[in-house]
């Protein structure tokens, strides 16, 4: 199972997949099974041709044994994905997708190919959306250096995306924060104007406080 990730990256891809496997999905069983009373919750009963909600790991386990078909979540339909991709291209903002969309789609591509109509289309749409979003992340990161930023809002960013930018974003913000708060900045001509202003403002504040 997922290996222990080291501390600076917080989560490994395998651990994110582990978390994504708890997301609920609809399956249509082809067998009869009594309800399961698991630690993670109660699921079932399962009757042939009657849809049931289960966590993804359970769906995949049943699918592997040929005991069910998985119903594609609505956001993964060609129609929805096309909309998202267009909106994603037109706007600077990130569109709303499930938090674990990268992991969920990957798991379904790997284990439930025959349950996905137009799989090639769906797969390439997801790839495109991923590309557009990662490109946006790349350009979006520039604002950290342009403005003095103390907090960064990552609206609609997914788990995998946040995890990928984490090492860079957290270190960069921390460094800028330090540069702007420490009085240790030497008053030399090499300091950009903005930073010097920040330092001066802080001096004023301290004086007022006293």
């Amino acid at each position: 199972m997922a290996s222990q990730s080291d501390n600076s990256v917080a989560f490994s891809a395998a651990e994110l997949e582990f978390l994504a496997e708890d997301e609920m999905i609809e399956i249509v069983p082809n067998m009869r099974m009594e309800p399961l009373n698991l630690i993670s919750g109660d699921f079932g009963p399962f009757r042939p041709q009657i849809a049931a909600q289960v966590p993804l790991w359970l769906a995949v386990a049943l699918k592997k044994r040929g005991k069910c078909t998985i119903r594609l979540p609505e956001w993964m339909s060609v129609e929805k994905l096309t909309q998202v991709l267009e909106a994603e291209r037109d706007s600077e903002k990130f569109q709303l997708l499930p938090f674990h969309y990268v992991e969920i789609s990957r798991l379904l591509f790997d284990h439930a190919r025959e349950d996905i109509p137009d799989i090639y289309m769906v797969r390439s749409l997801i790839e495109d959306i991923k590309d557009v979003r990662f490109h946006k992340i790349g350009t979006g990161l520039e604002i950290i250096s342009k403005e003095v930023t103390y907090a960064l809002r990552l609206k609609n960013l997914s788990a995998m995306e946040a995890n990928i930018v984490r090492p860079f974003v957290t270190k960069a913000l921390q460094t800028f924060h330090k540069l702007n708060t420490k009085e240790a900045i030497p008053e030399s001509g090499s300091i950009p104007n903005r930073q010097r202003q920040a330092v001066n403002q802080r001096d004023k504040r301290v004086l007022k406080g006293r």
Partner: protein, 223 residues
């Protein structure tokens, strides 16, 4: 907005009856694991939760054993086993993440009673052993051979005012977090910067130091 001064680690859950009802131990354990993995310092040990999870695991192990004796069909059995494995993984990873932090910051944790009390009894024993071993190792390999005044494992020299050879977690490190509820405007620190509006279900990169009380009261989750 709650001032976030609740020191109890599960206070945020208790005061919200609805979320208490809908939150299973499996969810709580997952949250504890995520927070522990993403926070730079060691958090309060979730003693009650760990205890309950252990009991559930034991119960489930007995159930699985019973099933295999009674000839319950192998599919059901394997599903129960998978669920059990997932919970075991979460619990192990949670405890191991803590052990890793204790190993790294044993001297630092020992210095403060607040930090020391965040450890469980077993973890305290582990920390003591870590400290003894590290002291002994440093002494034998280096410190005993140094001139007088440089023999401390806590200080560079006897002239140092503070314990400057003790590794500490960086609390001003930025973390990525998410709140389930709208928390309103939130003052980052006392430096007079503009407050941040924390909206529900949005991700933010914020300094750990400034949201620490919100993490401890369960109002914000680290991701």
């Amino acid at each position: 907005m709650d001032s976030g001064d609740a020191s109890g680690y599960s206070a945020g859950v208790d005061d919200d009856y609805e979320s208490l009802l809908s939150t299973t131990d499996a969810e709580l354990l997952k949250r504890a694991w995520r927070n522990e993995k993403a926070s730079p310092e060691i958090l309060q040990h979730e003693t009650a939760l760990v205890q309950r999870s252990r009991e559930q695991i034991q119960l489930m192990e007995e159930t699985v054993e019973e099933f295999s004796k009674n000839g319950v069909d192998p599919l059901t059995l394997s599903l129960y086993q998978m669920d059990l494995d997932r919970t075991l993984f979460l619990l192990r990873s949670y405890l191991r993440t803590r052990l890793q932090k204790i190993e790294n910051y044993a001297f630092h944790i020992q210095k403060s009673t607040d930090l020391w009390n965040r450890l469980s009894k077993q973890e305290q024993k582990f920390a003591e052993r870590c400290i003894d071993d590290a002291e002994q190792h440093l002494d034998q390999s280096v410190l005993s051979k140094l001139p007088h005044g440089f023999k401390s494992h806590l200080k560079q020299s006897s002239l140092s005012l503070a314990d400057d050879m003790v590794p500490e977690p960086q609390l001003d490190q930025y973390v990525i977090c998410r709140s389930k509820k709208f928390l309103g405007s939130f003052q980052l620190d006392d430096s007079g910067e503009e407050p941040v509006n924390i909206e529900a279900n949005d991700l933010y990169a914020l300094p750990y130091k400034s949201i620490k009380p919100l993490v401890e009261s369960g109002q914000i989750d680290l991701v």
